[in-house]
Amino acid sequence: MSKTDDWLETRPTPDRLADEALIIDVDGFEGPLDLLLNLSRSQKVDLRRISVLQLAEQYLKFVNQAVALRIELAADYLVMAAWLAYLKSRLLLPPDPADAGPSAEDLAAHLAFQLERLAAMRDVAARLMARDQRGRDFFARGQPEAASICRALRYDASLLDLMRAYARIRTRDDFRPYAFDREHVFTMEQALDRMRGLLGYMGAWADLTSFLPEGWGASPTRRRSAMAAHFAAVLEMAKRGQVDLKQTEIFAPLLMRRKGEA
């Protein structure tokens, strides 16, 4: 991590090896911010006075090397690289007076703030964990006294129990076995029953659609289901030799009459 400053120079092999080791280690970082924080350490200055420009260059160098070594970087590293490249160009160019919105300096200051905040949180996290801890450094009474005459029953449940119970119920809903919605479905058996009853009323050639049951023509879902059921039913009836079917051309109305009607 130490010699990141002078990557621009041509350097002896050991250094380059060190860099490659660093790049291989990209998995060790928790995202671009973590990586930036690590790179910033090499500037060895107060995070408040860090050079974001220099940091952006280090980061871009890092990403380029990773790409050169064909290390696959997660998308968020590349997003950060694009953003830093943009920031770098804005930091280098004179400010455009027509450009509304935050200046490059504002953006750089914000990045510095984020790094400082992350570093600070890591620092206090370490201080927190270094504190005396219950069960490790100090202890509660080992034999709480519970023996007594009056015994009360207390029911307990934690918030986690509650949330899990709710999650369980809702998950059950999500994963309930697939059940067919019967409301808009006309089965072939139903159609067959129906058509058998209508068989006696069939005379000359008649359009199948005229036999569809009442109330099943309005909604497309119901019409489709009834149509399919009745089509299957009359095919079945034709097979049994109960009806004749004919269709003059593709997609023309399907005509049917009772077998033996002349």
């Binding site: 307990d156 449940a157 949330m163 899990r164 369980r168």
Partner: protein, 211 residues
């Protein structure tokens, strides 16, 4: 060990030894023997003498140092036993039916019994509702202005207090439950299998956490 070395590790002063015995007896889950004390304390300590000092210090206090067989422990002074009654509560986990019913009331309040049954998919026994009422975790809300004017249930302040919530609106929604991994069909492990890779899991995970 030669005498010179021993003196380097001279026993701590008696006041320190007394503190040590006090802490060990306090934290131990069972009475502690002299031998055990000697084993825990630094070389050259005299646990018997420390115990004698400690015992005198606790004379007339709210707790006493007592001998139990060959071991020692702190016990509440007999005359204060009446203050301990509350310690004797026995905690029991709520039944699954009860916790589910409670969860539904919390998430859907005000909710009628029929609605609870519809959500749970099974009938809710009278005992379950009674138990939650008795625990003072749910109470009757306003009657629903629908045919039959059914009573509704809502959760109480005692419920919020017990579960550390500031309001029932603070309960996480389905999306948030899913984000916390609570809506998974997998059983929730006590320990994430590989906590170290926490943040390097499947990339699609970030979308789970969006609000």
């Amino acid at each position: 060990m030669d005498p010179a070395e021993l003196s380097l590790f001279a026993a701590p002063p008696m006041g320190e030894q007394e503190r040590m015995v006090e802490a060990v007896l306090f934290a131990s889950s069972e009475p502690v023997t002299l031998a055990d004390l000697a084993r825990r304390m630094p070389q050259g300590c005299d646990p018997a003498e420390a115990l004698a000092h400690l015992s005198r210090r606790y004379e007339g206090r709210g707790v006493h140092l007592v001998q139990v067989g060959a071991a020692f422990a702190f016990r509440t002074a007999a005359d204060l036993g009446h203050l301990m009654h509350k310690e004797s509560v026995e905690t029991r986990k709520l039944s699954r039916a009860a916790i589910e019913t409670l969860a539904i009331v919390a998430y859907h309040q005000p909710v009628t019994r029929a609605e609870i049954e519809e959500i749970r998919g099974v009938a809710v026994s009278r005992g379950t509702v009674d138990q939650l009422l008795e625990l003072n975790w749910i109470r009757l809300g306003r009657r629903r202005m629908t045919p039959g004017r059914p009573v509704t249930f809502v959760v109480t302040d005692a419920f919020l207090d017990h579960f550390g919530l500031e309001s029932a609106r603070d309960l996480p929604g389905l999306k948030e439950l899913r984000a916390a991994g609570l809506l998974d069909s997998r059983p929730l492990p006590d320990l994430p299998p590989n906590a170290e890779d926490d943040d390097t899991e499947a990339p699609d995970q970030s979308e789970l956490f969006e609000d």
